[in-house]
Symmetry: C2
Subunit: 205 residues, 2 copies
Amino acid sequence: MARATPEKRRSRTRGQAGNDRRTQIIKVATALFREKGYHVTSLDDIADRIGFTKPAIYYYFKSKEDVLFAIVNSIVDEALERFRAIADGPGSAGERIHALLVEHTRTILRNLDANTVFYNERGLLSPKREKEMRQREREYTEVMRSLYAEGVASGELLDIDPSVATATLLGASIWSYRWFDPKGRLSVDEVAEQIAKLLLNGYRR
Amino acid sequence: MARATPEKRRSRTRGQAGNDRRTQIIKVATALFREKGYHVTSLDDIADRIGFTKPAIYYYFKSKEDVLFAIVNSIVDEALERFRAIADGPGSAGERIHALLVEHTRTILRNLDANTVFYNERGLLSPKREKEMRQREREYTEVMRSLYAEGVASGELLDIDPSVATATLLGASIWSYRWFDPKGRLSVDEVAEQIAKLLLNGYRR
DNA sequence: CCTACCGATCGGTAGG
DNA sequence: CCTACCGATCGGTAGG
């Protein structure tokens, strides 16, 4: 069990190096949490793969949960930002929803590891943090819901319950994280376009 | 290991008692696995809620994973059965897909606890069992995929990749397990109809 | 179906 | 960022 000597202190400034290490821990943890799940992954697993020991992680994070939180938090931040930009942009309600769906799927599929952890493991956060996550997620669900309601009012969109519509459209997009194969024949952009097209037009020709 | 099987016990005076106990363990485990997740739920938690002690569970199950497997397995069985009945029934490809989607959503929402466990925790089964689950799931995905391809060939359905279409339609239906509120204003049937309607027609009026 | 208990794992800390 | 280690939890078993 001789530990692999980690390549110590690259000749860099202290702050930058610390940031790299933190980023590296997050990256490795993200991959492992996705592969095995949060509880099956031990801090030793993470440390081993990086090449140092468990207590090193506590130099950068206060707890295991904090590592998960860092991953989950970055995802929701990113999503919320993109949503607002598109929702506040030009176009009819229907056009903006289309743009939203394409962008949403793209964002998920381009960062599959972190998004998988987000959707699979966020329920394991402390009640307080989980509540906060739900709150921020509701914010961007609400952005789309009000867009949909606007489209129904103007007669542009199918008249069903806007909450059901929003949840269904987003769900169809989100679910791609479970079946998309980065090594498959279709690219992220192709899949994102096809999903959005199907939702816009329906499967009946 | 030289213990009596539950089957032997069942033939006693108490009749279905053994079976009831097993069913009760599954029911309680399903609720707890959904609430807290598989790994956060201990066998003591399950036993406590029923009112006996942990070793009693080992009278009915060989391991904790076997309890999870019993839950997950029943779900995939049920889904596969319903899928085949509808797919082999009457109607055009589009009509059968519609019926499939309504029924699929209904089945999930009527049995939310077990389906939530199925979709959230099945990845925690042993590699062998997980592979088996994936296999059976692919069977019913394939049922729908070939229906979709048939509809594209006949010109009835939107011409996109049948695999993408199938995954997206099913995903939109499945995702309802995450947002449906049994105490909300819409019933299971209403939600199932609205989802299917949206997918059939698209959100653009 | 119970009491009693074991072995292993693991998050986290002390102290350097 | 390391060595050494603790306390608690927990799946599972022995033996009745």
